[in-house]
Structures are given as structure tokens and as C-alpha cells.
Symmetry: C2
Subunit: 218 residues, 2 copies
């Protein structure tokens, strides 16, 4: 029974890694679509988001099924409950990638990236992609050093997010309202993407370091 | 044992109702703070958000505790798992109220509501407050008619959200970039607030109507 349970927990972990990999591909495609006005790539991200949603629902069903059959307690229970929360956050990360892709599609054939913010969004995109890759590795290896790195990179994303507002509210900003709207939304989506990764990283860290007795932050 | 479990489920439900009530007060205060530039009220919302977060964490701990001790299956298990998800959504609704309040505080003593959008945001705020109140009633009574009403009101919020973009991207828009940013963010927060309510309403509806065998949407 115990052995079956361990195999099931591995299955949960493998599926989280698989969803995280898809999210990682989606944010890579989405930021490319956004930065290069690639509408075909944007549409792929939008399609792939359905797949991410389906996999997250299927994983939740597996987790509920494990709760019902195995009735885990203590750390094992927290692993399964955490999996439910991690899948919800991964699903939201997929949504953020989709939103970024949609901005590229809405504005096509115009560029979605506002002038004067090209390098900022290139850097935010690069950081989000790196965060997503590290998150996949963290879920696979439970190497908590990666959780720390994700947090540091999220700090950089937050700084860039603030710098976007400094720019559009500054005296040199010449953007039309559409550029201001796009900058605001795109920056928010990039920032939220990274936030969700940090929230997942914290959960993995709690479980890996034995801090799981502490109440988990939502 | 069964009776204890039923009492515990009632405790979970009571706590969800209590958090939902606080969220309802917060969105009422937040939209008033935003629409009337009331910075004291904005600060109250920001303080109250900590309380909402704490209650959500405590509820999650109770739910996990029930899973560990009572080992529920079938519908009972889904009720407890749904409570975890509902508490996460309520916590996010509290965050949205806080974000709306923060806009009022950032811009003070200037008005945060952009000119030309006063009536739109008054109406969005009114709808969000109504949605929050109905959500509290839905959690208390499980009257699924309310779920339908929440969905209809969310549709109206979505229409207003679209109308905000029509306005700021239209030819008559004379707002400074700061007004464009505030309109974009405020509209997004109001819309997300209502979305979370719909997602909670769906979960209550599934549980109340016996559709709980279906996979729950994330």
C-alpha cells in the first residue's frame, strides 16, 4: 500500500513537472510573440493554454482520487494538498502567458511593445522564461537553491515592473493611450507570472525543508 | 464520528461565510475609497486585507486537519477540497479590493478615478459589491439561484471592462498617461474580483446540484 502511494506521489510530481514544462514553453513563445509581433506564435500559445488547463484539471482529479483512496496524513497529506495548489498556480501562469500572447494578436500588424520599452520588456520576458525553467527544475529536483534564485529573479521583475510605470508616467513619455494601456497590462502580466512562480517555489521549499508543519501561505 | 464530521463541515462553511463577509465589506470600502478619494477608508481596506489573509490561512489549516482526521471520501471530500479552493479565491478577492484601495491612496489628494469614467467605475463598484453580497448569501444558503445572478452580474462587469478600453482608446479620450494607467488597472481589478466570485459560485453550484462527480474547473 505504502509503495503504491509512493508511486502515486511520483506520478503527481511527474505531472506537475510536465505542466510546468508546457508553461515554460508557453511563456517563451508568448514573450517572443509579444516582442516580435509574431501572431502565429501568439495563436499557438492561446491553443496550448487549453492543453495546460486540461492537464491541470486531470492532475486535480488524480490528487483528489489519491486523497480518497490513500487517506494520507502529515507530510504526505501536505504534499497532495500542495500539488492541488501548485497546479492552480501553474494554470494561472499559463493564463498570464496567454494574456501576453493576446496583446500581440490584438495589435497585429502593429507592434504590441510600446516604443521606449523594447529593452525593458525583452528583459522582463527573458526573466520570466528563466524563472519558468528554474521552476520546472525545482519541481523535478526539489533543489531548494533554485527557490532562492527564483525569488531573486522575481525581485528583478518587480523592479522592471516599477520602471515601466516610471517610464509611462514620466515627462518623456510620448506614447498614445494604446501604448500606455499595453505597457500597463503587459507589465502586470509579466509580474504576476513571476509572482505565481514564487508562490509555488515557497510551497516546494516548505515541503523539502521540513517546514511543512507551518501554515502554508495561500 | 459522522456527527463530529458534520459539525466540522459546518464550521468550515461558517468560516467561509465570515471571510466572504469581510471581503464584501472590503470591496464596499475600496470602491468608495476609489470613487471618492477617501484615503482613510483606503487604509482600512489595506489593513483588513491582512485579517482576510490570516483567516484564509487558518481555514486552510482547519481543512487540512479535517482531511487528516476524518479522511472523507466522495462528496464530503469534494466539499473539503472545494473549501480550500474557495478560500484561495476569497483571499484573491481581498487582494483585488486592496489593489483598488491602493490606487486611491497613491493618487491622493488627486482623484484616482479618471475623468469621463466616473459613472462607469461607480457602476462597476456597485456591481462588485452586489456580487460579493450575493456570494456571501450563496455560501450561507447554497441557493444556486444566486450563482446564476452572480454570473449575470459578472457579464455586466465584463461589458463595463470592455467599455473602459473603448473609452481610453477612443478619439475623445483626453486623459494623461496616469489616468490611462489608473483606468486600465482599476478596470482589471474590478473585473478580476467578479471573476473570482463566479469561480466560487460554480464550485458551490457543482456541490449543491450533485454535479460534483464532474471534474471541477480550476
Amino acid at each position: 500500500m505504502r509503495e503504491v502511494f509512493q508511486l502515486e506521489l511520483e506520478e503527481v510530481q511527474d505531472r506537475l513537472v510536465a505542466i510546468s514544462e508546457l508553461v515554460s514553453i508557453s511563456i517563451d513563445n508568448a514573450t517572443q510573440a509579444f516582442n516580435n509581433s509574431n501572431v502565429a506564435l501568439a495563436e499557438r500559445v492561446i491553443e496550448d493554454d487549453h492543453r495546460i488547463d486540461e492537464l491541470a484539471i486531470a492532475l486535480d482529479e488524480l490528487a483528489i482520487n489519491i486523497l480518497a483512496r490513500q487517506q494520507p496524513v502529515a507530510r504526505d497529506l501536505r504534499i497532495v494538498v500542495s500539488a492541488l495548489r501548485i497546479s492552480a498556480s501553474l494554470e494561472r501562469m499559463g493564463d498570464m502567458a496567454e494574456h501576453i500572447a493576446q496583446l500581440a494578436r490584438y495589435r497585429f500588424p502593429e507592434k504590441a511593445v510600446p516604443k521606449g520599452l523594447r529593452s525593458t520588456f525583452a528583459e522582463m520576458g527573458r526573466l520570466d522564461v528563466e524563472i519558468a525553467r528554474k521552476l520546472t527544475d525545482l519541481l523535478r529536483t526539489e533543489d531548494v537553491k533554485l527557490a532562492e534564485e527564483i525569488r531573486n529573479e522575481d525581485d528583478k521583475v518587480d523592479e522592471l515592473h516599477v520602471s515601466v510605470f516610471d517610464k509611462v508616467l514620466g515627462e518623456t513619455w510620448k506614447g498614445e493611450p494604446v501604448a500606455t494601456v499595453d505597457a500597463t497590462l503587459a507589465s502586470r502580466y509579466h509580474e504576476r507570472f513571476a509572482d505565481h512562480a514564487v508562490s509555488i517555489a515557497k510551497k516546494v521549499q516548505y515541503l523539502a525543508t521540513g517546514d511543512w508543519q507551518q501554515p502554508l501561505e495561500a
